[in-house]
Amino acid sequence: MPSIPVSASSPPLLRAEGLVVHFHTRDGVVRAVDGVDFEVGRGETLGIVGESGSGKTISSLALLRLVPPPARIEAGRVLFEGEDLLALPETAMTRVRGRRISMIFQNPATSLNPILSVGAQLSEILVWHGMATKREAPERIAELLRLVGLTDPAARLRQYPHELSGGMRQRVGIARALLCDPSLVLADEPTTALDVTIQAQILDLLAELRARLGMSMVLVTHDMGVVARMADRITVMYAGRVCESGSARTIFHSPQHPYTRALLDSMPRLDRSYRSGGRQLLPAIAGRPPGLLNPPAGCRFAARCPEATAECRRVLPVQVAVGPDHMVACLRRGSQGMAA
């Protein structure tokens, strides 16, 4: 997979800096995203991986200022094509959403409007953004439906979501995301709701669109297989913080953060026998992710980390470069500590 170097001369398409999102609950403040940085280059796919509660979805929603209440963006900047999206007035944001940055949702069954035909709901978006008149819209939509591999687009325009299969609905979801020719597409678990053979078709389609359109994408997923197949660069999140960022090859072949290593080791593999030479067990990670209502003072992974020292439990590690395009937040890898 070609990895596109982010050179100093071309600034990244999008850079999130010091993103902080808190949930204000009855029980207190849940620090769901707590100082997160990542960047996406032009034509690049950034994979954000992590388990549920790691803050990956909230981070991607924060880019569009769509975090659901009681969550609130507390701090940070989202630099995108020369402006800070977090500082824009709300009216200007509505021109960014769906137009310059669009989304592909996890479940196409619930993200499409069940009472509008495919043509009607896609046309609404084009007309709203002033990209086409009501009369011109069907032609543009048919062109996109063809692009995402749907046959007989004219007939599809008149169909309702319930008349389509899951795979076809997700193709419509992708066509919708591409309608306004956006600079960046956010895809949150775009294939998790699909069966594996359909997932493979949708991943093929996304890869093809990326090659043909030079599409830039943020792919949020918990599936290490999907991210290995799709991402140029990967950001690994754990308990609201970034552990490690780097090229896909670096993350899979020379991970440095103990969490990344442990996670990759603990996953069962399709291409390994667990019965030849006696029954083998998986190198599981003991314990579980910390609660974020009162997160531990130091490194969030310290309680489960085989390498943790007393210092790791006291101070938060700051990301440090350990190689070209490879950042790690770990005191044992040379990170500076920051008093929590």
């Binding site: 899951g166 053979t197 493979a200 078709q201 197949r229 603990s266 026998s273 998986l282 190198p283 599981a284």
Partner: protein
Amino acid sequence: MSTAGPLLQVEKLSKHYSVGSRGLFRRSGGTIRAVDDVSFHLRVGETLGLVGESGCGKTTTARSILHLVQPTGGTVRFEGEDILPVFAAGARPDVLRIRSRLQYVFQDPTLALNPRWTIGETLREPLRIHWPGRRDQWEARIAELLGLVGLEPQHAWRYPHEFSGGQRQRVGIARALAVEPRLLILDEPVSSLDISVRAQILNLLVSLQQRLGLGYLYISHDLASVRFVSSHVAVMYLGKLVEMAEVDAIFARPRHHYTRALLSAIPVPDPDSTQPRIALQGEVPSALRRPAGCPFHPRCPAARTVCREVEPRLEEDEFGHRLACHNPA
């Protein structure tokens, strides 16, 4: 009861639903063959992984075995006993005797545990039902069960909401083990858990099996976990068993074209993977419009004329590899 025979023997199990034959317009009715003529067996200490995509009939097969849905045909012998007629007759002592030996672990432990019961109460329930005469042993058994699944004795006083998903699934497993079953049906037991916790539960299942000599029927769409847990794997497509063999044979040398496509469709966690992909055209057809001949032929890269006309029988080779295909790889 012979101990040498299989723990579970499923013969020609079918679950058919007839649809749309009544009603205002009397549309031409149809039959959905959710499970169709499925046969397999499972020995003590073995795990049969049952795999396939949504709608293939794997969960209906499991539920039919326990008579949670009423099968339309076939027999299920458990420890040599023909159990479907026992469930159908519904005499409580007989049903309980079988249920205590044959337990089900659900996918989502949050939904499967009563939120108003402490963990102790949840574990006491099967003992109350199945061991009414052994009341003096209940508390010791609850403590033993908690230890068996890696929880602490004081956890008996807590409620499900105080636990993480992984701990709740440990409780779900402990409850299934309470009355010393011989066979567990595990329906996607790790799918709802965080990825860093799945390995713990998978290891627990394997260790418990070795310690207690259990048989498992493990249902999952996560084929990597199937490879880890199973000794044998059965692949279903549109209600039919299409291939079944020892786990390493299925993964290293799959012979049915559907199995091959299914395995090759799973993205490998390696960006340099050169794994060849067998792309399948289209989607699984509706069970109402089941293709004639081999149900897989419209999507099969190796389909021949015979595949469109004659449904292949599941046949076994000399290595015990069972396959329903006219033109295998």
